[in-house]
């Protein structure tokens, strides 16, 4: 059903392809939002990622899977330059957001992170009120002209994160007082309050119980209508459930990438098949 030619062949003529499209299983070809070419990451002298090239489609969920230490989180953190905060971490190669190199010296990393939001593995709400958690991003970026607008953004974000009904009566209570799943949805609300174009999620459910996980997955499914989502997960079932495209990482290499159903039903690489069938990982 899917042609093997779906796989990206890194070659020089693909360097300016940000207007090209990739296919997702549910729909017709989608425009590409983020393009990575030959991305290598070094921690000091140790190379953690080897020449990764991938296209991430708009308004779809792309999942990164692979065993621990395979480099999937490292690559995710390259996409909004969170690796900048780690000392002696070096990134080679080219990553483009809408055709603009995000490692360009002229690009402001603050602006980049306003466009590429992030949700972390462990829920990390600020030790402030629920309202303040969501309002912080719009406030520092000056997205609201007045209190009423800010209130509207907070409410809309909490709605989108399916948290509004649970917290609307206690917006002034601390965000840290919520349950783990609610905290993670609060973090998602906080990320989408800035209206980013891309949301990166680094194993967002690994600290949550199955019910909270199901809610988050449902939420991710809704969010993909408005946002481009990249999710790192160590659960293959989760990748199969929420994503349209899947990339399998192993030992710092991007082994295979393609529409999720194809990766899970007829992977092109033996290593992918071994991992998916539980032979290692």
């Amino acid at each position: 059903m899917h042609m093997p030619s779906e796989k990206i062949v890194p070659s020089s003529d693909l360097y300016a392809i940000s207007s090209s499209t990739v296919r997702t299983p549910d729909e017709s070809p989608r425009p590409v939002r983020v393009t990575a070419r030959d991305v290598s990451v070094f921690y000091g002298a140790k190379q953690a990622l080897f020449d990764v090239s991938i296209d991430i489609p708009e308004k779809a969920v792309t999942a990164f899977i692979g065993p621990s230490g395979c480099g999937k989180s490292t690559f995710l953190r390259c996409l909004n330059r969170m690796n900048d905060t780690i000392e002696d971490c070096r990134v080679n190669g080219r990553i483009e957001l809408d055709g603009q190199n995000i490692y360009d010296a002229a690009l402001d990393v603050v602006e980049l992170r306003a466009r590429v939001g992030m949700v972390f593995q462990k829920p990390n709400p600020f030790p402030k009120s629920i309202y303040e958690n969501v309002a912080y991003g719009p406030r520092i970026h000056g997205l609201a002209k007045n209190k009423a607008e800010l209130d509207a953004i907070v409410e809309a974000s909490l709605h989108k994160a399916s948290l509004w009904s649970e917290v609307k009566d206690r917006l002034n209570e601390p965000g840290t007082g919520l349950s783990g799943g609610q905290q993670q949805r609060l973090c998602i609300a906080r990320a989408i309050a800035v209206s980013p174009e891309v949301i990166l999620m680094d194993e967002p459910c690994s600290a949550l119980d199955p019910i909270a996980t199901a809610k988050i997955e449902e939420l991710i499914d809704e969010l993909k209508q408005n946002f481009t989502i990249v999710i790192v997960t160590h659960s293959m079932q989760q990748a199969a459930r929420v994503s349209q495209r899947t990339a399998f990482f192993h030992l710092g290499n991007l082994v295979e990438e393609g529409p999720t159903d194809m990766i899970f039903t007829s992977p092109g690489e033996k290593r992918t098949q071994d991992y998916i069938t539980g032979r290692f990982g």
Binding site: N80, T85, N124
Partner: protein, 455 residues
Amino acid sequence: MAETLVPQPASDGSAERLARIRAGLSARHSRERRFRFYGIAAIAAALGFVAILFTMILYKGLPAFTQATLEVEVFFDPEVISVDPMPVQQQGQSQAEFRRAMTDWQRQATMVNWNRIVEAAVRNAAPGTEADSRQLLSIVETNARFELRDRFVADPGILGSTARVKMLASANADNWLKGNINRDLPDAQQQLAAPARELADRLYENGHIRFAFASHIFTNVDSRSAPASAGLAGAFVGSLYMMLVVIVLAVPIGVMSAVYLEEFAPKNRLTDLIEVNINNLAAVPSIVFGLLGAAVFINYFRLPLSAPLVGGLVLTLMTLPTVIIATRSALRAVPPSLRQAALGLGASKTQTVFHHVLPVTYPGILTATIIGVAQALGETAPLLLIGMNAFVAQIPGTPLDQSSALPVQIYLWQGNENRNFFEARTSAAIIVLLGLMLTLNAIAIFLRSRLERRK
């Protein structure tokens, strides 16, 4: 492998294993009991020493808060107080002329032999005493006459009338009545002559001398000519000024240095060197800071001697390393996830630090500040080197006025030649100092619990 996880029926092997475990068990338990006992013993010893310290201080110091006070009828005798009527500003008299006339009149009032008034009042309270005037006046504090003069200057109409006046008994009389002096000592070794001792006892019996709360400890300044009226108001205010200087300087400088070093500075040899030196500064003996202060602030910058400002600057130098080190460790304890959360939202480095990281460290910074300030409050050695051990008989009006400090006052009183009177006074000053520190700590605990609740 999997078989070992299945519970085994008791075989010879497992019984033997169990026996081995049991054999060691009692030794393990007794080791634990011994360790707990050592811990409890250590705590008991520490608490015991603290209890002894506080008991000694309270036992010695509390009596100093009550002092023998003489209450007698004083007749403002017009024959003794022969002064002109108080000048009134005349029509056409200039302000300066009037003030000169007033000063002249006050001088006249000062020249009056007020001791005669005091003597008459005391004699009246103990008729038929054998004490001569010298002996009689030796049981009254020397500044009683100034108090009478002030009373007269404030209200000249009192002339010719009688008023009930309270005046302090002298330090020697106070000692005698409190029993601090062995009553069996021969006359030659007594500080008061026999008739004066007898007079003091008599006044105490007929109720003219009472032990009253010595509020002047808190309102008066140090005094050498009138030791019984010596107080520590000057030292207290001096210490407060120094605390103010320390808080105003050490906290912002220390916190900012710590934030920069921890959050912004690149990690290289230079910052390592700075870190090592800050840690070393925390261990430098305080007297060295005193020498530094004398050399830099007084010799080079020509700041005044004995000024709380200079004392505060020296103590700031001493407190800075404490504040910096504590703030840095508080910053280091902030989970990285908080920084990532803010950075991931697009907050700049500065916004991340000031909006999110620093606020969670406030309780830690507060604790560090209070510890540093309390340490500075009790510091004596560096103050001796910048002249704050001078005898200062006034309450400083500004941080640039000459002043003493509480711990220095303790040091000065401790060395006072009037030993058995000032021993109690010293302990009283220690109680005040400890009270101030406990108050500071209480405020810190209160603020910290409030800050922590806000989270």
